[in-house]
């Protein structure tokens, strides 16, 4: 049994080296019950490697992982109440989807086999469960992976880019599914390289790059700190640029692809539009741009160097 009061995930000083490469470089995270936690970073950031260590698949070079207070490297009992997969879930291609789940349920014990039908139903694979997995599409395997995880009726679900490689409809279904699981009170760790995905699903986020966490906290605060990027087109762009530069709350005014771009918060944008009209630069278009992971990285690295996990957001980007 897990020690009382133990949080679902507590990672301290986690390091994994592959030769010269530090794939994971001193990661600390704490994930509380009910969190839908985004682990966001570009390819090669060390997301999968971190999750492998959390699942006890690889031994950390240094640092510790505790799942509900137990170490998954020492014993598989640490995975009680924990399920998930890294990269694309894998199965025995020569067996049917249902047979594969039967095997996993047998390896789980604890009545997991009684949950097979329900799990297949949840991921909408019930009608294809009799087919060999070798003939499944990537999306079907992905869903079978979730079904396999659900057999354990987990309290903590670790998912490694579960929507990657899916078509838009598959991605939407996957997100809806994760949303539903989270609504049922499951703690979810979701790695992703897509800001929009994490933003849609997660309440907290760690942003990783080159194995290091560069931000940890709420996405809304991060974006507020980073400021939104707007695109502007007017009848008199030259004058508009001057006005933007003069306007308080607006920064990084530049021309991108023939449009004026700037970073601002919402009240400043409202005041800007009034100032533009008053100056006779009439607005053709004034639209917020979607903030990308790259934008966030940009603002994180342009901000003061003192970005620490849970650090004051005012410092993140000024």
């Amino acid at each position: 049994m897990s020690p009382p009061g133990a949080v679902p995930v507590e990672v301290r000083g986690l390091v994994k080296e592959y030769g010269q490469l530090r794939a994971v470089d001193g990661v600390d995270i704490t994930i509380n019950e009910g969190d839908v936690y985004g682990y966001l970073g570009p390819n090669g950031a060390g997301k999968t490697t971190s999750l492998r260590m959390m699942l006890g698949l690889i031994t950390p070079t240094a640092g510790t992982v505790r799942l509900f207070g137990r170490n998954p490297i020492e014993t598989v009992h640490a995975l009680e109440g924990v399920a998930g997969f890294v990269e694309a879930p894998t199965f025995y291609p020569y067996m049917t989807g249902r047979r594969n789940l039967e095997l996993l349920a047998a390896f789980d014990g604890a009545g997991a086999s009684e949950r097979i039908d329900e799990a297949l139903h949840t991921v909408e694979l019930a009608d294809r469960a009799g087919d060999r997995v070798g003939g499944y599409s990537h999306g079907m395997r992905q869903r079978l992976g979730i079904a396999g995880a659900l057999l354990r009726s987990p309290k903590l679900l670790l998912l490694d880019e579960p929507a990657t490689g899916l078509d838009p409809a598959g991605m939407r279904d996957m997100r809806l599914l994760i949303r539903r699981l989270a609504d049922h009170g499951m703690t979810v760790v979701l790695s992703s390289h897509l800001l929009a995905e994490v933003e849609e699903l997660c309440n907290r986020v760690a942003i990783v790059r080159s194995g290091r966490i560069v931000y940890e906290g709420l996405i809304s605060e991060l974006k507020r700190g980073a400021g939104a990027v707007y695109r502007l087109a007017t009848t008199d762009d030259e004058r508009a640029i001057a006005i933007c530069r003069a306007q308080p709350g607006i920064s990084e005014v530049r021309i991108e692809h023939g449009h004026i771009c700037f970073t601002a918060d919402e009240p400043a944008v409202a005041e800007l539009s009034q100032a533009l009209v008053e100056a006779g630069a009439l607005i053709h278009a004034l639209a917020p741009q979607t903030v990308t992971l790259e934008d966030l990285f940009f603002s994180l690295t342009e901000g003061t160097a003192a970005v620490t996990p849970d650090g004051p957001l005012a410092e993140v980007a000024q």
Partner: protein, 272 residues
């Protein structure tokens, strides 16, 4: 019931039923004795230069014994290696280790279940091949008494008992081959490399035995232990080669098995 080694064992056996190589190996174990019997039917003479070779047209019970002699060269090691060499490597090939290692079984339990399965397959292949040889042999040459290696005549029922005891003694070196297959399977993580490697190991050992100057090593070579059962077919029974087979095979098998287990327990599951 909480899952354990037997859970793994049951499912590994079930997985074998889905795989072609399983039937390839067992098929060879069945077909080779049958082909051998068919060949003797037309030649009327056996291979004179091996023990029991000249008896195969007089007693069907000599046929399984001759099969054991020839099978030791490469057939039985290969059949055994087909599964032992594949059983861990195929998980790497399918990337499924991460799937089964994140359930409720410790790694040692997975290892033990797989090792038992590989052993079971080797045992099944030998017993199946021996039984087919007995049946086909007796159809061809009759359920007749057999002359022992000491020249005494052994009644047919007693000879049948000795044939099966010989099969059991033959399993001792087979289990060492299983262990070596398991080790190569965990180390190479590649099924073909492990199967071929196990076979190569078995052939190389035989080669050492015939190198001039190294014949003194003969009693301690794995290949020699495949002949230990011949002690049973002397009167009185010569236990010395059988006892030696037990400890010599343990010297090959136990370290290989322990190393395979350690490699599997400690490895990073970073692929797949």
């Amino acid at each position: 019931m909480s899952p354990g080694v037997l859970t793994v064992y049951r499912w590994e056996l079930r997985k074998l039923r889905y795989q072609k190589r399983t039937y390839l190996g067992l098929g060879a174990a069945v077909i080779v004795p049958i082909l051998f019997v068919i060949a003797t039917h037309f030649r009327h003479r056996g291979p004179e230069d091996v023990p029991f070779g000249s008896y195969i047209s007089r007693s069907g019970l000599a046929i399984p014994l001759v099969i054991l002699l020839f099978g030791a060269i490469w057939m039985f090691p290969l059949i055994t290696a087909l599964v032992a060499g594949d059983i861990f490597a195929s998980e790497d090939h399918n990337g499924t280790l991460k799937t089964i290692l994140t359930r409720s079984l410790e790694r040692w339990q997975i290892f033990a279940g797989k090792a038992l399965t590989a052993a079971t397959y080797g045992i099944a292949a030998i017993l199946l091949s021996g039984t087919v040889a007995v049946i086909a042999g007796c159809i061809q040459s009759g359920f007749n008494p057999l002359q022992s290696l000491s020249g005494t005549v052994v009644s047919a029922p007693k000879a049948l008992g000795l044939v099966y005891t010989s099969l059991l003694v033959y399993l001792i070196p087979i289990l060492s081959i299983v262990c070596i297959g398991l080790l190569l399977s965990t180390i190479t993580r590649n099924s073909a490399a492990a199967v071929v490697g196990t076979l190569m190991f078995s052939l190389l050992i035989q080669l050492i035995g015939i190198l001039p100057g190294l014949t003194g090593l003969q009693p301690y070579l794995l290949s020699t232990q495949f002949n230990a059962w011949q002690g049973l077919l002397r009167t009185p029974i010569d236990w010395a080669p059988i006892i030696r087979a037990a400890w010599v095979c343990a010297l090959y098998g136990v370290p290989a098995l322990a190393a395979a287990c350690l490699v599997f327990l400690r490895r990073d599951v970073a692929g797949g």
